[in-house]
């Protein structure tokens, strides 16, 4: 069966993918539908949804919540994807080296990984953002730095089990170089769990970003869902829409990504293949 057919068997995953595509399209076309700067003071402040020409209402400065969500989608997805890419990158390198070589290298790298794991991750992220000044880059770096250990452990585990597999040993007997074995032979075989964990990490990254923004550590120049929530949280009781719609956007996205992740997991998991 093709991957797609396996994936499509999970109805939730298809729905998730649909939502995700919608959000991506929204992010891509934000400037078409909302050509103005999402920060611009577009009209009467605190307009409820549907009034004064605001589909989803406006915030305390009269900024369009809908425009913010559309433009913020780009940021949030970007942060999620970038942070995940970086984390997965670091994680793969560390995990691959540790798992492949084992012994003292493994020991050393795993101690380093553990070190990063013993530091409370959210505080660590806050620390990094505070040191580097709140900006998209620093947020991405911070999220990546606290997320990679999970990937490293996973990849290490896969490498540990794969490195003694016969096909890898066959490559050794052919005299293949270590780098080639790692990249060309082992890595492709452990990509599926990495893809699964990566997909979930995108969701977590979006959540971390919103948490940082809640604590006032977002990039003040860039519209993101986290920013909207952070800016709107004091209005929660007086203008529920300011914070609720971006919250729903996050919820839907995270939900969608999780569903897709689960779908990928099911599709890639040979054990589940036989089951409905």
């Amino acid at each position: 069966m093709t991957f797609w057919k396996l994936f499509a068997r999970n109805r939730g995953a298809v729905v998730g993918l649909g939502i995700l595509v919608l959000i991506a399209v929204m992010a891509a076309t934000a400037s078409l539908f909302f050509p103005a700067d999402p920060f611009s003071l577009a009209g009467k402040p605190m307009s409820p949804p549907g009034e004064n020409g605001f589909l989803l209402g406006s915030d305390s400065l009269g900024r369009d919540v809908a425009a913010g969500i559309a433009h913020g989608a780009k940021t949030s997805l970007l942060i999620g994807l970038l942070a995940t890419l970086v984390a997965v990158g670091i994680g793969i390198v560390m995990g691959a080296l540790a798992g492949y070589y084992g012994g003292p290298i493994d020991n050393l790298l795993m101690r380093v990984t553990e070190m990063f794991q013993t530091i409370p991750s959210f505080i660590f992220a806050i620390l990094l953002v505070a040191i580097m000044k709140p900006s998209i880059e620093s947020i991405v770096i911070a999220i990546a730095v606290v997320s990679w250990p999970a990937v490293a452990r996973l990849v290490r585990g896969e490498f540990l089990s794969l490195r003694n597999r016969e096909f890898v040993q066959a490559c050794h007997t052919l005299g293949m170089s270590d780098v080639r074995i790692m990249l060309g032979e082992i890595l492709p075989n452990c990509l599926s769990p990495v893809i699964v964990i990566g997909s979930l990490m995108v969701a977590t990254a979006i959540l971390i970003e919103s948490g940082l923004a809640f604590l006032g550590l977002g990039d003040p120049n860039i519209m993101s869902w986290g920013f909207q929530i952070g800016a709107g949280r004091t209005l929660l009781r007086s203008a529920w829409w300011v914070c609720t719609f971006p919250g729903i956007a996050i919820l839907l996205t995270v939900l969608a990504i999780n569903l897709v992740g689960e779908g990928i997991n099911d599709a890639l998991n040979p054990r589940l293949r036989e089951r409905t």
Binding site: F39, P45, S60, L61, K133, P220, A231, R233, L235
Partner: protein, 506 residues
């Protein structure tokens, strides 16, 4: 009134210590004045109310001030309060380690203590403003017998204060609350009415509001309850909002420009910024109606003492975009192909969400006149270092207390002598104008009210033209309280007062 009961109020953020003789930090002010007292208190009309001093007398030449101290006052540990404590507090403590003390008492050369209840301040020059700086918040009287010979900056009193005030310190649970109990031996008979004061720390603004609504706390000042919620609570039964109790601090929101580098080295650009900002928009939409557009370098509250001058140019209520553009055009600052005349980074003061909103608004507003802005938000230490130590900024939104006299709260922005690298909240614009310096020096010593008004009139005119600092609006801090709480705002110090007369309806 009814005696008894506990008042739980919001103290936010948690104070770093309770050493009000070392620090004027706001949260300390919310707690320490309940424990320590000053020589005077002030009522809502800024009239002097006797406290530890029953009366005072100023000599004809203004160079001697004699205070008659109250009898029968004891420290919380039982020791008697005497003139030695006053002399020690002013000469050894406030003048030495208090942030504003050296300024408030700079003319005091010595203090004589002819008897236990008389303190004679000898001044080098008349210092009329000094009498406005004797509240427990500004100048607390501290126990000599506990502090003398100790390291003031490392004193046990910082975490377990001993004063003469209506409440005694009992316990400070870090991260949770400070508990003060009634001082049974307080010199005012029958007071305080409350059995206990508990100052609670609640980091999240929305939660503070919820706790207020829920009745878990009854009092929150200095923006503890965000304005938006205050507005809502104001219209809710059982809660009230007041702006009383802030007249001594006179807060002013403003922009500090870095006058040493482009684009803000050019007064025209600074004025254009002042013109382009809609002060009413800020007040209406970010502070929800609380505040008054600034109209001068001095707060209009100084009108009461005659120092405020009306009709200064360049402080419009609503944005004057055309005027701003005309100014820039005249100064030869022309837009490029994208309509950008100048670019700058605006640093946001990290003291709350409102300031971020203000920055976001200003970014939009200044875009209208072709000034493209990047916002920068950093945490407190980074920000302080950038603005006051490294001078590495273009302009920043900020707010200052103008206090009860321009000498105390306004001079620090403008004097050449106030360009003190590494010192916070002074002249970071690095504006230097000999003419103004002379006026400020004269204003500080002038005892004659009309002459003084004239001097400050000139000061305001110069500043309206040079605009090293653009005042935005006179802030109105809000106190939100449960209607069951009575008589909490009898002092001009408001939340920084002693709560001696406060009581709770059971």
């Amino acid at each position: 009134q009814e005696a008894g009961g506990t008042l739980v109020y919001i103290v936010q953020p948690e104070p770093p210590s309770l050493a009000s003789f070392l620090s004027t930090s706001g949260p300390i002010g919310l707690v320490a004045p309940k424990i320590y007292e000053g020589l005077f208190d002030y009522d809502n009309d800024l009239k002097i109310v006797p406290a530890l001093a029953e009366s005072y007398e100023v000599s004809a030449d203004g160079k001697t001030v004699t205070f008659t101290l109250r009898q029968g006052v004891t420290w919380h540990d039982g020791a008697p309060f005497t003139s030695a404590d006053v002399a020690f507090s002013v000469m050894e403590v406030l003048k030495q380690v208090h942030p504003r003390g050296p300024n408030s008492f700079r003319e005091v050369t010595s203090i004589d203590t002819p008897d236990e209840h008389t303190a004679v301040f000898n001044l080098a020059n008349p210092a009329p403003y000094m009498l406005r700086a004797l509240s427990s918040y500004e100048s607390p009287m501290v126990p000599k017998h506990l502090l003398e010979g100790t390291d003031l900056r490392n004193s046990d009193l910082a975490t377990s204060p001993v004063g003469t005030g209506p409440y005694k310190f009992v316990e400070w649970k870090k991260g949770q609350y400070i508990r003060l109990d009634k001082n049974e031996a307080y010199w005012q008979d029958g007071m305080p009415y409350l059995d206990r004061l508990v100052g609670r720390f609640i980091p999240d603004a929305s939660t503070r509001t919820a706790a207020m609504e829920n009745g878990e706390v009854m009092y929150g000042a200095y923006g503890a309850i965000p304005n938006i919620d205050a507005v809502r609570l104001r219209d809710t039964d059982g809660f009230s909002v007041t702006t009383d109790g802030y007249s001594m601090i006179n807060p002013m929101a403003l922009i500090e420009f870095n006058t040493t580098k482009p684009p803000f080295d050019n007064p025209a650009v600074r004025k254009a910024v002042s013109l382009a900002i809609d002060r009413e928009f800020l007040i209406e939409n970010i502070w929800f109606g609380y505040g008054k557009p600034a109209t001068s370098a001095l707060s209009s509250n100084f009108a009461a003492v005659g120092l405020y001058k009306e009709g200064m140019p360049n402080y419009p209520k609503n944005a004057d975009v055309a005027g701003a553009i005309a100014l820039l055009d005249a100064a030869g600052i022309m837009p490029d192909a994208n309509g950008v005349r100048a670019t700058a980074t605006l640093d946001l003061i990290p003291y709350g969400e409102d300031w971020r909103r203000a920055g976001e608004y200003m970014k939009q507003a200044l875009a209208e006149i072709g000034i493209a802005i990047e916002l920068r938000y950093e945490d407190v230490p980074t920000w302080l270092k950038r603005i006051y130590a490294d001078y590495d900024f273009d302009f920043n939104v900020n707010y200052f207390y103008q206090l009860s006299d321009p000498v105390l709260g306004v001079h620090r922005h403008y004097g050449t002598d106030q360009i003190r690298q590494g010192t916070h909240f002074v002249n970071s614009s690095r504006y230097s104008n000999p003419e103004l310096d002379a006026l400020l020096a004269a204003g500080a010593q002038e005892a004659d009210a009309t002459k003084r008004a004239e001097i400050y009139g000139q000061v305001q005119e110069i500043l309206a033209e040079d605009m090293p600092v653009a005042n935005l609006f006179e802030m109105q801090f809000l106190t939100v309280y449960n209607d069951k709480l009575k008589e909490h705002a009898t002092s001009a110090m408001g939340a920084y007062g002693s709560f001696d007369r406060a009581w709770v309806e059971q």
